[in-house]
C-alpha cells in the first residue's frame, strides 16, 4: 500500500496531531478525536457541529473556524464517529443556545448522531439536526437508506455557520441548512477506486478504459460502469443527471462546486468546470458563485463530483459572509 502512514489504525489520530500542530486557532483533542474552534463555546451563539468518517479531508476539520463549523468530530476512515465523541464535541460548542448537528445521510452517521443527540438532551443541550442527502446518483425512496450526503455538505456548513455567527437561533440555522440541502444536487464519476489504509488495496478494480458513474465518497462502486469518454461528455452526463433529478429552475442563480475526489489534479477540475459552467449556462442557470478544488474527497480516488445549489439572495449573502478556516477563507 502506497501511503504516507505509520500504523494504519493510527492514521486519524496522527493526522489530527498534524492538524493541531498546523492550526493554532483550533483546539484539537486527539484522544476524543474532536476539532474545536479555539473560542468555543461562545455564550449565546448556536454551536454548529459536523462530523463523519475520515478520508474526506478537508471535510470536516478543515471547515472549523470563524463563520463555519464550531467543531468537527472525525471518525475512523469511512466510519462515522461514535456517540460519546459527538457528545463531547456537542458539549464543547454549547453556548446555551443549542447545537446544530450537520449529518450526512448514511445509516451509520444517522444512528450515531441520533444517539448522541439523545445523550445531549439528557445533559440539557438542545440539538437540531440537518440531514444532507444531495447525491442524486442514488434514487430517493422511503424503502431504502435514501440518498447520500456528499458535496452539498460544504455549502450547508458554510451557510449554517454564517447564520449562527450572525446570531440566529437554532431553529433558523437548521432550517437554512435544510433549505440548502433541498435546493442542492450532486453527482460523481470516478476513474479509479480508492485505497483505505486498513484495507491496503483498492476497493474495486477498474480497467484502464472504464469509469464508474454515480459513485459516492466511500470507495464504493457506482451505479454503473461505462467506457471512459471525453471530459465534455462526462460533464454533460453529470449536469443532465443533476438537472433531471431536482427542479433547479431556469432563470435562478446557483452556487456550483466542481470537486475533486482526491486524486484528480486541479488542471482537470478547471477543465471540467469550464464544461459544466457552459452547460449550466445553456440550461438557463446563472452561476453566481463557484468553487473548484478538492473539498469533499474520497482519499486518493481519481474522480470528480459536481454540486449545484439553487441560491436565493439569503443563501448568497451567507455564502459571501466572512469565513476563516483552514480550507475556506475569505472576507477576513
Amino acid at each position: 500500500m502506497k501511503k504516507f502512514v505509520n500504523d494504519p489504525s493510527a492514521v486519524v489520530r496522527e493526522a489530527l496531531a498534524g492538524v493541531a500542530a498546523a492550526h493554532s486557532d483550533l483546539r484539537v483533542d486527539i484522544e476524543q478525536q474532536i476539532v474545536v474552534r479555539a473560542d468555543a463555546p461562545r455564550s449565546g451563539k448556536v454551536g454548529v457541529l459536523s462530523g463523519g468518517g475520515s478520508g474526506h479531508e478537508p471535510l470536516h476539520g478543515g471547515f472549523v473556524g470563524l463563520g463555519m463549523l464550531d467543531a468537527a468530530c472525525p471518525g475512523e476512515v469511512f466510519t462515522s464517529p461514535v456517540p460519546d465523541q459527538i457528545l463531547a464535541a456537542t458539549q464543547a460548542v454549547d453556548g446555551g443556545a443549542g447545537v446544530v448537528h450537520i449529518v450526512k445521510n448514511y445509516t451509520g452517521d444517522v444512528m450515531n448522531f441520533q444517539m448522541a443527540a439523545e445523550l445531549a438532551a439528557d445533559e440539557g443541550i438542545e440539538v437540531r439536526s440537518v440531514l444532507v442527502d444531495d447525491d442524486v446518483a442514488v434514487e430517493d425512496s422511503t424503502w431504502t437508506a435514501g440518498r447520500r450526503g456528499t458535496g452539498a455538505t460544504l455549502i450547508v456548513e458554510k451557510v449554517t455557520g454564517a447564520l449562527a455567527e450572525a446570531g440566529a437561533a437554532a431553529d433558523a440555522v437548521a432550517a437554512a441548512g435544510s433549505r440548502v440541502n433541498e435546493q442542492s444536487a450532486s453527482f460523481a464519476v470516478a476513474l479509479t477506486a480508492c485505497t483505505t489504509p486498513a484495507a491496503g488495496k483498492p476497493g474495486f478494480d477498474l480497467p484502464d478504459d472504464e469509469m464508474e458513474i454515480g459513485v459516492g465518497i466511500h470507495g464504493e462502486p457506482g451505479r454503473r460502469r461505462e467506457k471512459l469518454r471525453p471530459a465534455r461528455e462526462i460533464a454533460a452526463m453529470t449536469v443532465e443527471a443533476i438537472l433531471g433529478a431536482k427542479p433547479l429552475a431556469a432563470g435562478s442563480e446557483a452556487i456550483v462546486l466542481v470537486n475533486g475526489l482526491g486524486g484528480t489534479p486541479l488542471i482537470e477540475l478547471y477543465l471540467l468546470y469550464g464544461e459544466v459552467a457552459a452547460l449550466l449556462g445553456k440550461a438557463g442557470l446563472r452561476v453566481a458563485r463557484n468553487l473548484v478544488g478538492n473539498y469533499v474527497t474520497s482519499l486518493d480516488m481519481a474522480g470528480m463530483s459536481v454540486t449545484v445549489c439553487r441560491a436565493d439572495a439569503e443563501i448568497l449573502r451567507l455564502w459571501d459572509a466572512p469565513v476563516r478556516t483552514p480550507a475556506l477563507r475569505w472576507g477576513v
Binding site: 466510519t79 461514535v82 444517539m115
Partner: protein, 207 residues
Amino acid sequence: MDVALARSWIAAIAAAVAEQADYLTQLDSAIGDADHGVNLNRGFTAVAAALSSAAEPAAVGDVFVKTGTTLVSKVGGAAGPLYGTAFRAIGKALPAGSSTVDAAELGVALRAGLAAVQKLGAAVPGDKTIVDAYGPAVAAFEKAAEEGLAVAARAAAEAAAEGMRATIEMVARKGRASYLGPRSVGHQDPGATSTWLVFQALADVTR
C-alpha cells in the same frame, strides 16, 4: 448459561471477528466501504479488554449490557449502533440480577435484540442486512430452545449461515450496499456474515 459462559461467548465472538476481520472487510469492499471487519475488530478488542479488566459481573445480563455499551462507544458506522443496541437489549431483557439464565430466557432476550436492531435500523427481512441472518437465527433458537442451550445454539448458527448465504441473491435496500442498487446482487452481506459469526461462536462455546 452462567456469567462465565456468557463471557466465553463474547470472547469467542472477539476471537472469530479478529480471525475473520480481513474476510469481513473484503466482503464490505465489494458492496460497501471496506471497513466492517476493522470496525468490529476494534469494537470487540475493546469489549474483551473491558470485560477482563472489570470485576466479574454478578449477572449474565450485565455482561451483554457492558458488551453493547462498549460497542456503541468504540465501533461507529452502522455496525456499532446496531450490534451495540442489540447486546444492550439482550442484556436488559434477561432477568435482572440473575447469575444463570436458561435457553428459553436467552431466546426471549435474543428476540428483544432483534427487535432493537429493527427498530433502530428499520430493516425488514430481505433488505440484505444483519436482520437476514439474525431473524432466522432467533426463530431457530426459539424453536429448539426446549432441547437445551447447545441444541438451540447449533440450530441458530445453522439458520444464521443459511440466512447469510441467502443475502447473496438479494438487492440491498438498506445500508451502503443499497447505493449500488441491482449491482449489489451476487455479493454476500458483510453484516449478515458477522451475525453468523456471533451465533456460530455461541454454538462453539455451548457445544
